[in-house]
Structure formats: structure tokens, C-alpha cells
């Protein structure tokens, strides 16, 4: 019995840590509707800053706690700067566009931390006065864990006090409920957003600073926390601090007991819990329907058929791609194949989120499913390349059919997070199911059939498959089915009212998008000769999302431009020292200059230039 009580306390201490980070993320999302990927970076900065302050000041108990609060305050200022300098300028962009900017910030912070603090991990001192364990029912419990168990609810109480007893808190709650109305009532939104972002950043910094006595400060802290933080926020209900607290306790306690029974569980446990909660409660434990969507953005112009200029550009591009093998440089073909794969992957995601209005944070699942299915078909079933290339997308579509059935019941960010949960669970299965998938060593030696193994031949094959699929996606977007999806995206109520079974259409749309991602996956597996769990990991899904948003979600060409820009810039920039900083800076510049994505920006540029030409 005492053993289980001690395990419970361990879980509660972890819950407090997790809650601090998640509460800040939840407040930021509630008010500004920004999905802040950089929250993990703020957490990491909090840890580094407090490590530096604690070790340089070395002032005993007061010094320790003073350093923790000071570090959190500095992080709050950094967060405020990010809001004022970057995010404030892009609130009117399409939904979720801001996450591209926060992705840029993540890259920049990684290199800044590396430059300032160096690559080695640093283990800070234990908390003065709390450096030992006490015996509770005979079991050793670290004093610092007990302190954390107190700090968590204490911070929750302070936040609730702030929310319920101050004018600022009332405004924050009001903005979480209905942002447009708060604006209409004349509340200074700029101040509200910046201050909410700073409070959220403070909490992230505090969470990081308080980890110093528990773990070494390292450059991996940002990525290791951000996934779980999002899960906690979603389970609790976006914008609900109390919900985040409850969710943090559920996740951490479940994990503390879970590892006793099934030690591998921690890899997928948070995502399993999230999937179950979202299926049962579509807006999380304490969330409301209003929390699913961002504020109103510029409505999207209707799709138009390709203009004359568009046809010329597309033809020229196709001619360029056809002529590429003429150069005596096999690497260009490798790179262009990667571009084609990324384009198809991004276009399939765009079909889902741009046309269908269903944002996915886990689209790589279907890319990976297609790739793995093809690889396994070749290795175990002995299928030749072309049948395997058909088998892959079919399996991807089947996967999307199953997961899509759950996902289309939700909307907005909750839908996105359920797709993420599905992808993570699939990733966990792939990772763990070693005899079938090879675990993290992947499946190797899946090369094209002999007739297609020449560099140019395979390139033309990839061009034919990806190009054909892209044309098909375009046709679908302009078909009656595409019209239904777009109608459902813009006004679900009206679409239902004229007798459309919207959910069925969305389910079909989800499946089709999954199948196209699977096509990209099979081209990938034969071009690389191998497949690894990375293909269906969060990182790959996020890459796709960045391509679509960076390119411009409101244009069919957007994902193509975005994918090409992303792959080519990344390929070039990784050759440089501190490339993450440069890449992040490039992303921020693009975001600020073209708040509607590269394609949107190019479109505006074109409209500016064209009359001038006509006059000349």
C-alpha cells in the first residue's frame, strides 16, 4: 500500500511540472488562438536561464527561489517580444498561420541556446533545503517532489484568483469565450494579447526553471516536452486552466502506474488518453465549442480555373522538370524527386485542410502507412515494384478510413489533435512492432525494379506519378465533390440545410487525402530504398503543415510553392553553420512579408506588376 502511495506522489510531482507548462500554453491559445510551438523553447530557456542564475549567484535558499522567479520573468519578456515583433503582425492571417512563425522561433532558439550555453548537458544543483528524501510510510520521497506537489495547486489557485478577481482576468476569460465580441466592446486587444502571451511565457519559464533540480538542462528539453504539453491542453479543453490541471494529473499518474505493468507504455500513453477523451468528449474535459476555432479571418476567394498566365507557368515548369535529366548531375534528380514527393504530400494535406477545412497535425501517418505497406509488400509478399506502389496507397486509404471516421466528428483544433493522436499511436506501433517494421532501424533495401533503377528512369516515373496525382487533386478540388467540401468548410450549417450529408463527404475527403499521402509515401520508399519511423513522426507532419501554410493555404498552388521552397531552402541551408538560426530567420521573414503565404504574396505582387506592364 505504501508503495502505491509513494508512486502516486511521484505522479503528482510530475503532474505539477507538466501543469505549469500546459497552463501557459492553454492561456495563450485561449486568448490569441495561436498554436504556440515555441512554448517548449520558452520552457527550455527558463531552465537554462535559471541554471545560469542559480550557479552564478549561489545565494542559498532565497537565491534559488529568486533565480527561479527571475528566470521566469526574463522568459516572460522574451515571450512579449516575440508577440510584439512577430505574432501581432499576423493575427489576421488564415487560421493556424501563426504556428509557422512559432516554428521559426523554435529553430532560432535552438541555435541561440547552443551558441550561448554550448552542447554539453548541465546538471544543476539540488534545491537548497530540499535536497534529500523524507520517509512517508517508510518509502523515500524527495523533498523537492513534495514542494512541487504544493507549487502546482498554488499556481493554479493564483491563476484562478487572477482570472476571477481582476479586470484583466475577466477580459482574458471573455476573450477565450468570444474574442470578436470583446473586440467589439472596445477592449484594447493589443494589450490583452501581449499580456496574455507574457503570462503564458512566464509560466513556461517557471516550469523550466523548476525542472533544474530534477534533471539536467539540455538542448533536447524543448522537443521532449512540447508534445505532452499540447496533449494536456487538449485533454483539459483548450483555454481551460483547471482542465489543464486535471489533465496533467491524469497523464502523470497514469504513467507512474503504467510503467509498473507495461514499461514501454510511456511512449504512446498521453496520446492514447487524448484519443479516448476526444472520442468521448469532443472539446476536451472542460472545453467549449467556441474553443475549437480561431477568430474570423479574411474569407477565401472562390477557386478559379487556371488563368492563361498560370497555364504558361505550369507548362514552363513541366518542361523544366522534363529537361532536368539532360544535366550531368544525378543529384539534381534526387533533389527534384524529393521536391515532387514533398509537393504531393503537401497538396494532399492541403486538399484536407484547404479544401476540406479539416486541419491535420498527423498527416504523415498516411504517408508512412503507404511507405511501410509498400516496403513490407516487397519484402514479405515478394510483390514487384508497381503492384507494391498500388498496395501502399490502398493501405494508407484504409488507415485514413478508420481514423477518419473518428476524426471528422470533431472540428478545428480538436480534430487536428485527434489526427495527431492517431499518428502518434501509429508511430508507436511501428516503433515497437520490431519483427514487422524493423523498429527504429526501419526497413532497408527496398529499391526500384531493375527497369526503373536508372536515375533518369526513376525520376520520370516519380514525375509521372506525382504529376498525375497533383493533376487529379486539382480536378477533385474543382469537381462537385470539391464544391461540397468547400461549402462544408465555409458553412457547415448551410451545407447540412440543403441536404448534404457533410460528415460522409468529409470522411471520404479524409480518406482520399490519406490515399494521396500514401502515393507520396510509396514514391518516397523506392527513391530512398528504405523507410523509417521518422516518416510518420510528428516532425514530418509538422513539415507538411509548414509547407502548406508557408506556401499559402488559400491557393491551390500554395502547397506546391511551399513544398518546393521548404525542401530547397532546407537542402541549401543545412550546409551552413548555425543553419537552424538562418532557416528560422528566413521563415520569419517570409511570414512577415507574406502573411497569406508565398503563393498569396506572389499573387498580390503579380496584381501589382501587371497593370504597370499593360501601361508600358
Amino acid at each position: 500500500m505504501s508503495f502505491y502511495f509513494a508512486q502516486l506522489l511521484t505522479g503528482l510531482a510530475n503532474a505539477s511540472s507538466l501543469f505549469l507548462i500546459a497552463s501557459g500554453l492553454s492561456i495563450i491559445f485561449g486568448v490569441t488562438r495561436v498554436v504556440n510551438f515555441a512554448h517548449g523553447s520558452l520552457y527550455m530557456l527558463g531552465a537554462y536561464l535559471s541554471y545560469t542564475l542559480i550557479t552564478t549567484l549561489d545565494l542559498g535558499i532565497l537565491g534559488f527561489w529568486g533565480s527561479v522567479v527571475a528566470a521566469a520573468a526574463i522568459v516572460a519578456v522574451i515571450g512579449g517580444a516575440i508577440e510584439v515583433l512577430v505574432l501581432r503582425r499576423i493575427y489576421r492571417s488564415p487560421e493556424l498561420f501563426q504556428l509557422v512563425a512559432t516554428f521559426g522561433v523554435v529553430l532560432i532558439v535552438q541555435d541561440v541556446a547552443l551558441a550561448i550555453w554550448g552542447p554539453a548537458d548541465m546538471l544543476g544543483p539540488r534545491a537548497p533545503g530540499l535536497s534529500r528524501a523524507v520517509r512517508i510510510f517508510g518509502e523515500p520521497i524527495p523533498q523537492y517532489d513534495l514542494a512541487l506537489i504544493v507549487i502546482g495547486p498554488l499556481v493554479l489557485g493564483l491563476i484562478l484568483l487572477l482570472f476571477n478577481r481582476t479586470r484583466w482576468g475577466i477580459l482574458v476569460r471573455a476573450a477565450t469565450e468570444d474574442r470578436a465580441m470583446v473586440g467589439a466592446l472596445g477592449v484594447n486587444q493589443r494589450f490583452l494579447f501581449t499580456s496574455a502571451f507574457m503570462v503564458g511565457s512566464f509560466l513556461a519559464g517557471l516550469g523550466g526553471a523548476l525542472q533544474v533540480p530534477r534533471e539536467s538542462v539540455s538542448l533536447l528539453m524543448d522537443m521532449s516536452i512540447i508534445g505532452e504539453a499540447f496533449v494536456v491542453v487538449v485533454i483539459g479543453g483548450m483555454g481551460s486552466v483547471t482542465g489543464a490541471f486535471a489533465a496533467a494529473i491524469i497523464i502523470s499518474v497514469a504513467n507512474a502506474f503504467g510503467v509498473l505493468v507495461f514499461p514501454q507504455i510511456s511512449m504512446v500513453l498521453p496520446f492514447l488518453v487524448m484519443a479516448v477523451v476526444l472520442v468521448v468528449r469532443p472539446y476536451g474535459l472542460f472545453g467549449t465549442a467556441a474553443s475549437a476555432h480561431g477568430g474570423a479571418t479574411v474569407p477565401e476567394a472562390p477557386l478559379r480555373p487556371l488563368s492563361k498566365v498560370g497555364i504558361v507557368v505550369a507548362t514552363a515548369l513541366f518542361a523544366f522538370l522534363l529537361a532536368a535529366p539532360a544535366q550531368d548531375d544525378t543529384f539534381i534528380l534526387v533533389l527534384l524527386t524529393d521536391v515532387l514527393i514533398a509537393m504531393l504530400f503537401a497538396a494532399s494535406l492541403h486538399f484536407l485542410m484547404g479544401i476540406g477545412g479539416m486541419v491535420s497535425f498527423g498527416h504523415a501517418a498516411y504517408f508512412g502507412l503507404g511507405a511501410y505497406a509498400a516496403a513490407i509488400a516487397v519484402r514479405d509478399l515478394g510483390l514487384p515494384m508497381l503492384p507494391a506502389m498500388v498496395f501502399g496507397p490502398v493501405m494508407a486509404a484504409l488507415g485514413a478510413l478508420v481514423f477518419g471516421w473518428f476524426c471528422v466528428r470533431l472540428s478545428g483544433v480538436y480534430l487536428a489533435m485527434l489526427t495527431l493522436a492517431a499518428a502518434q499511436i501509429l508511430w508507436g506501433v511501428t516503433f515497437q512492432w520490431q519483427w514487422l517494421t524493423g523498429g527504429d532501424d526501419g526497413i532497408l533495401g527496398i529499391w526500384p525494379a531493375r527497369w526503373a533503377s536508372g536515375n533518369a528512369t526513376f525520376y520520370y516515373l516519380a514525375l509521372a506519378i506525382c504529376g498525375g496525382a497533383l493533376v487529379l487533386i486539382r480536378q477533385l478540388a474543382h469537381s462537385p465533390f470539391g464544391f461540397v467540401l468547400r461549402g462544408g468548410r465555409d458553412s457547415p450549417v448551410r451545407a447540412e440545410a440543403i441536404g448534404i450529408d457533410l460528415r460522409a463527404h468529409q470522411w471520404l475527403g479524409f480518406t482520399i487525402a490519406g490515399a494521396f499521402a500514401g502515393v507520396a509515401g510509396v514514391v518516397f520508399v523506392f527513391s530512398k530504398g528504405s523507410v523509417f519511423p521518422e516518416t510518420l513522426a510528428i516532425g514530418h507532419s509538422i513539415d507538411g503543415l509548414i509547407m502548406v501554410l508557408l506556401g499559402g493555404v488559400q491557393a491551390l498552388a500554395g502547397p506546391l510553392v511551399g513544398a518546393a521552397a521548404f525542401v530547397l531552402i532546407e537542402d541549401w541551408v543545412t550546409r551552413l553553420e548555425y543553419w537552424r538560426f538562418i532557416f528560422g530567420a528566413i521563415i520569419l521573414v517570409i511570414v512577415l512579408v507574406a502573411p497569406d503565404g508565398i503563393a498569396g504574396g506572389l499573387g498580390r505582387l503579380w496584381r501589382l506588376v501587371r497593370p504597370a506592364r499593360a501601361a508600358a
Binding site: A133, E215, Q434, D440, D441, L444, F532, L568
Partner: protein, 403 residues
Amino acid sequence: MPTRSLTFAFALGLSALALAPSGPAVAQDAIKIGEINSYTRLPAFTEPYKKGWELALEEINGAGGIDGRPLEIISRDDTGDPATAIRIAEEMIGRDKVAFLFGTFLSNVGLAVADIAARNEVFFLASEPLTDEIVWGSGNKYTYRLRPSNWMQTGMLAAEAAKLDATKWATIAPNYAYGTDAVSAFKEQLTKLRPDVEFVEEQWPSLFKIDAGSAVRALEQAKPDAIFNVTFGPDLAKFVREGSLRGLFDDRPVVSLLSGEPEYLNPLGDETPDGWLVTGYPGDDVDTPEHDAFEKAYRAKWDEEPQTGSIVGYNSMMTIKKLLETAPSLETADLLATMEGLEVDSPTGPFVFRKADNQATMGAYVGKTALVDGQPSMVEWYYAPGEDFLPSEEEAAKMRPAE
């Protein structure tokens, strides 16, 4: 809107740059070699490695190169992603026309590059990956591996573990191929030496996401006589702190893979556990003339103590130097023929690349962790030669797929 158009011009320019053949013009006669590693993903381990090979490169080129030809290393960051590593390898082979490849740290990246090397019939020296697959189960004739492998290092520890009084063992390892392979290799080798041991508990925390408190409690509950640990990096620090707070290591021997390597040991600072049996590298304490010379040069260039990665990087270049001095040409067939049984001298002693399985006999240091004058250190250490912990060449050859 000039700024706007400029930005797009810039973005387009970038794309054009990426497509154009790149890299600065080099002397005609330089020998080009491709190098790939996870520099941004795991800088704590790959930076010392880079410093190691850069030092050796400077020494080689300072002495006039190989037969008058300087070496040019094209070094790239694989971002920890095997697919990116494959693309980079294809660029090095297809565009840069490198003579061969070396590097990689993560096992899956190493395996991916080994596969692409075999497909393109290019020699690949896998410097750091530990997986046994790369020379055995998935071995190919184009891939040689330098660092003492999972099997070798767990074998060194199993030999020490067998001398302990312990029969009930618990294991903790990160939940991915390296962790699972290490645990099964340790179990197999320890059970062979001590048939009476039993393994009573396993913990598999996610890599770099350990819930150390819960894992420590779960290990404690099993009341093992001894613990075998494979966690490293941030996980190790957390495990050590939570474990010592909760008394897990009191009167309980711990055998810990790689924890004596300065990359993992130094960050533990004054929390360094006392008396853990580890494989690693005692750094400055190694007193051979070869090592002293290396250490002096390394300190002069980088102003810090060499780490395990530094040795691996330096020994990689020593291998390359010996290979290029011996090989009749840069043709892959000649390189591969020369690699068979190639003997290399290094700061940590001579080693040989075995003909049967392409594994180097480079060894590792086995000892105990301790705080010496407030510094995390290895004590009572000795050098365990790699050949003593490898299966015989006949057995090893049987584990490899037929060519």
C-alpha cells in the same frame, strides 16, 4: 513594394543556388571524402567527434597530405534523419564524386548510409554507430565499422558483472533499438558466464523522456541484487539523481554501458555515483606516449579535454590515413581490398579491421566511476582489447548475409 519583391527574389535565388553545383573551388589534386553526422541533433556527442577528426585532418594536411595530395572533407549535418542522410550521401557520391564516406552516430542513420554505400558500390567507414546489425545481420562488403560495438562493450561489462555476487538483475534502457539490443546482448553474455542469474525487472523509458521517479520506484520494487543501465545523456542524469535520492543504489552494484565516457559522465558533476562498473574513456589519465601526444595536440587546438567522440573522430582519420597510404588507388575495389585486415596505430593503441566481419578491434576502457578531487572520473580502469570480446571470425562470418 520593393522589399516584398526583393524577398521573393531572395527566396527564388535560394532555390536556384540549391540547384546549382555548390561548394568552393578546391585544389585539383585534393582527395575528396564525404562525412555525415548528426551535428544539430546530438551536438553534445558529435562536436567532440568533429574536433577529433578536424585535428587529425590538420595534422595530415600539415604534413603534406597523402603522397602530396591534401585531404578535403565535405562534412554535412544529417539532422538525425536517415532520409536526409541518404540524400546527402547521394549528393556526395553523385555530385561531389567523393572517394568514400565516413561518419554517422545514430544506428539507423548508419544502417541507411551503409545501404546506400552498397547500392552505389562506395566504401563507407561507419565511425560511431554501435548496432551489431551494421557488421553482422545487415553487414555488406562496402561497410566497415570502427567503434567497439554493442556486443563488445556489453561483453566487457558482462565479464565484470559475472564476478559480482548478484544473481537477481534488473535492467533499464531507453526504448529503441540501441537499448533493446544492449539489454539482450548483456543478458546473453552474462547468462553464458553465470547460468544462475535471473532477470527480474525491465524498465523501458522513452528516449530522452524518462519518468525517472516512476522508473526508479519500479526497479526498487523488484528488489534486484544489481542493475544494468543503458540510459545516457539527459536520461542518465535524471535517473542518477532520482535513484540516489530514493536510495536505489545503496548497497546495490550498478553496471552501466558507456557511462564512463566523459560526454555522459562529466555532466553528472558532484552527483557522480560511486563505484558503478562502466565502459568509457578515462581521458587524461591514459598515459601512453601515443595518447600523451594526441592529448597535448588536442588541448593545444581546442583548449579542452578530449572526449570519447574525440578519440573516435581522430581514430577515424587515422584509419583513413593508413588506408590511403596503403591503397594502390582510390578505386573502391582497391580501397576494400586494403581495408581487409588493415592495421592502424592510434592514441588508444593499435587495432585491426577484421576480414571476416569488417569490424575493428578497437577496444574500450572498463572501470569504476568515482569523484576524484570533485571531478567525475573513471578509477581502477583497464583497457579491454576489442578482439577479446568478438566472436571468432568464422562465427562472425556466418552471421553476415551472403554477398
